[in-house]
């Protein structure tokens, strides 16, 4: 964990690590001036990378599918299914050939293209909801822990250790088995319960790094209370690396959500998600490989876009690369 003292940089000094660099950026937003050019530099670096645009394009398409599935298919989820036409492979491997069912039909005889499109919403919504929930927990606990120290810090750190010791998938699996509900809310809670730990440690380290800075002491001498200091002075200068970490790991959450669906403890029919489609395909994929392939391609592309974006952003923010 980074516990280096006072990171606020007035000048555009080369810094050793991404978190420090990102902190400088957050500081720059308040102070203006030279530090803000780090974001501009990063952006200048980013927009020249084809990988960055590829990742953004995939994310845009997936977000559109999640928000407005009607743009991509005229069918609703589980709409006009006919078991008579179940498991019809696509007429052509080219999905743009204009055939009736470009991805074939699934085990219930539903149009597979429509099902895969409608399967986008659940993973994307859960991915961002878990991230938001974890971020909220991490920022609250990390700020309290780093700011007050002492027994509160010890208590929060030990609780973090407990949840850190349980792997995300194993923990969520046990929680969801114990839970009677298996809707989107239950899956979000189960994943969120084990996802906040790394972020909390990161946030705590960041808060410790800035809490003794001159401007914090100045604010305290001017009579600002704990809450005001935390919210107005420490938070804006500490949150950037945590936020970057959270955003870039949405893909990991989406992958875990699909695994839970696949194992049968996540969302249940009649929900539609890529994980559930892969679950249905698992016993018949030898004869009907397309049932496994299409949702797998969509899922992999989504997770990949977050990984690629993460790589590009890390490289762009790392001053050693300039």
């Amino acid at each position: 964990m980074t516990e280096t003292p006072a990171i606020r940089r007035e000048r555009d000094e080369p810094s050793a690590a991404v978190p420090a660099a990102a902190t400088a950026v957050a500081g720059g937003e308040l102070g203006g001036g030279a530090a803000a050019s780090l974001w501009r530099d990063a952006w200048g670096d980013l927009w020249r990378r084809p990988i960055f645009w590829l990742a953004m394009a995939i994310m845009l398409v997936m977000s559109l599918m999640a928000a407005f599935p009607g743009l991509f298919t005229s069918r609703e989820a589980n709409d006009r299914c006919d078991v008579q036409f179940a498991k019809r492979p696509p007429a052509s491997w080219n999905p743009f050939s204009g055939a009736d069912h470009p991805f074939g039909t699934d085990v219930h005889g539903c149009d597979y293209w429509a099902q895969v499109v409608h399967g986008t919403r659940a993973p994307i919504v859960i991915g961002f909801a878990v991230t938001a929930l974890s971020l909220l927990i991490a920022v609250t606990l990390g700020s309290l822990s780093g700011h007050y120290g002492g027994w509160l810090d010890a208590l929060i750190s030990r609780i973090t250790d407990v949840f850190f010791g349980l792997p995300l998938l194993l923990g969520a699996l046990v929680v969801l088995t114990a839970f009677p509900a298996h809707g989107i809310g239950a899956v979000v809670l189960a994943l969120g319960l084990f996802w906040w730990t790394s972020m909390t440690r990161l946030m705590r380290g960041q808060v410790i790094a800035v809490r003794d800075a001159d401007y914090v002491q100045a604010a305290r001498m001017l009579g600002a209370g704990d809450v005001r200091i935390m919210v107005r002075h420490i938070l804006p200068n500490a949150i950037a690396p945590v936020f970057v970490f959270a955003t870039l790991n949405v893909g990991v959450v989406i992958g875990s959500e699909s695994t839970l669906d696949f194992l049968g403890v996540g969302l249940q029919y009649p929900s539609v998600s890529w994980g559930l489609q892969l679950r249905e395909a698992q016993n018949i994929f030898v004869d009907y490989p397309y049932l496994l392939a299409y949702p797998a391609i969509f899922l992999t592309a989504t997770v990949l876009s977050f990984l690629l974006l993460g790589d590009a952003v890390r490289d762009a923010l790392d001053p050693r690369l300039r």
């Binding site: 609780i159 699996l173 592309a301 690369l321």
Partner: protein, 321 residues
């Protein structure tokens, strides 16, 4: 160093207690009555039912049950018993060798393939990056390794497992598709590769970055300027120092392998720990779930401790207070 080790072990105690209590409370909250479920269609006579509940202490308050459990684990090495009367400790003892063999295969695979890929990419990047003086990417090898391993991380492990089973097991017939009949290593190669695939990318990246950074270190420049041949500079000077973070990273992976085996053991039908906990979750067998999770958390904590101590052995600059 010993004082440090003892302090770390003492710090593990509250974590272990907290984790087991958490899992215990969750399992206690599992819906349904396990004794009724066990009896199936035929209703049990009340006396038998009550005797079974008494035998498993199901009517005691939660904290009393938990206290009795922790006492048993700590002082008698007793992890409780399953609803078939089998000891959970015995269950773990029977199944952990399978998981250990799977983890060892995956670990070896990561070590050999991941490090080789990383060295290949790193040398390629270092050759190109010389002019900019940075770790900027360069070379075909570098791009291929980074791209390939990133895709491998993105593919969900169960899709990878089924694809590998289909292509290498069924179509090509190179490996057995399921079970442990062929023994080690044959039965474990394919599942081992699937477990390793997701982590391969991180090992390759770590090796690459570490290598590229060390290529610019003063002692490497010294070695070059005193006229040592290139391979000697790379192997004797750069590589040795670059592998320290990689080895420690691989150490922390052992805990991950033990836990990450649920899916792969299920698909390849390997009777390991992941398989047992999956079966226990299906029939809501509390003692088995708590026992295996406790065991996994123990393995995880000890693996981390060993890595931290190993770090000091490998790098003499690190001292423990």
């Amino acid at each position: 160093m010993w004082r440090y080790a003892v302090r770390r072990v003492l710090q593990m105690v509250p974590v272990l207690l907290g984790t087991t209590l958490f899992i215990y409370v969750l399992v206690f909250a599992l819906p349904g009555d396990p004794i009724r479920a066990l009896a199936g269609e035929k209703p049990l006579p009340d006396s038998v039912y009550q005797a079974l509940r008494d035998h498993y202490h199901l009517d005691d308050p939660l904290l009393v049950q938990y206290g009795r459990y922790v006492f048993g684990v700590l002082f008698r090495g007793d992890f409780g018993e399953t609803f078939n009367g089998q000891s959970v400790g015995q269950l773990i003892a029977d199944s952990w060798t399978v998981t250990a063999q799977l983890a060892a295969t995956a670990w070896l695979f990561e070590l050999v393939v991941g490090m080789s890929l990383g060295v290949w990419a790193g040398l390629s990047a270092a050759r190109r990056g010389g002019r900019g003086g940075g770790t900027r990417r360069g070379g075909f090898a570098d791009a291929a390794v980074l791209g390939g391993t990133t895709v491998a991380i993105a593919i969900p492990s169960f899709v990878l497992a089924y694809s590998a089973q289909l292509v290498f097991g069924l179509k090509l017939g190179w490996f057995p598709t399921a079970g442990t009949d062929a023994g080690w290593p044959m039965s474990y190669l394919l599942p081992g590769m699937v477990v390793a695939a997701a982590e391969l990318g991180y090992v390759a990246r770590l090796t690459r970055t570490s290598l590229v950074e060390n290529m610019r270190a003063d002692y490497v420049r010294t070695a070059v300027s005193k006229g040592l041949p290139r391979h000697r500079v790379v192997v004797r000077h750069t590589l040795r120092n670059s592998l320290i973070p990689v080895v420690t990273y691989l150490g922390t992976q052992i805990g991950y392998f033990m836990a990450g085996s649920i899916i792969v053991e299920g698909i390849f039908n390997l009777p390991g720990i992941g398989h047992e906990i999956w079966l226990a979750l299906q029939i809501k067998e509390g003692p088995t779930i708590v026992g295996i999770v406790t065991f996994l958390v123990l393995v995880y904590l000890f693996a981390n401790l060993v890595v931290d101590l190993l770090y000091g052995v490998l790098d003499p600059r690190i001292r423990y207070d």
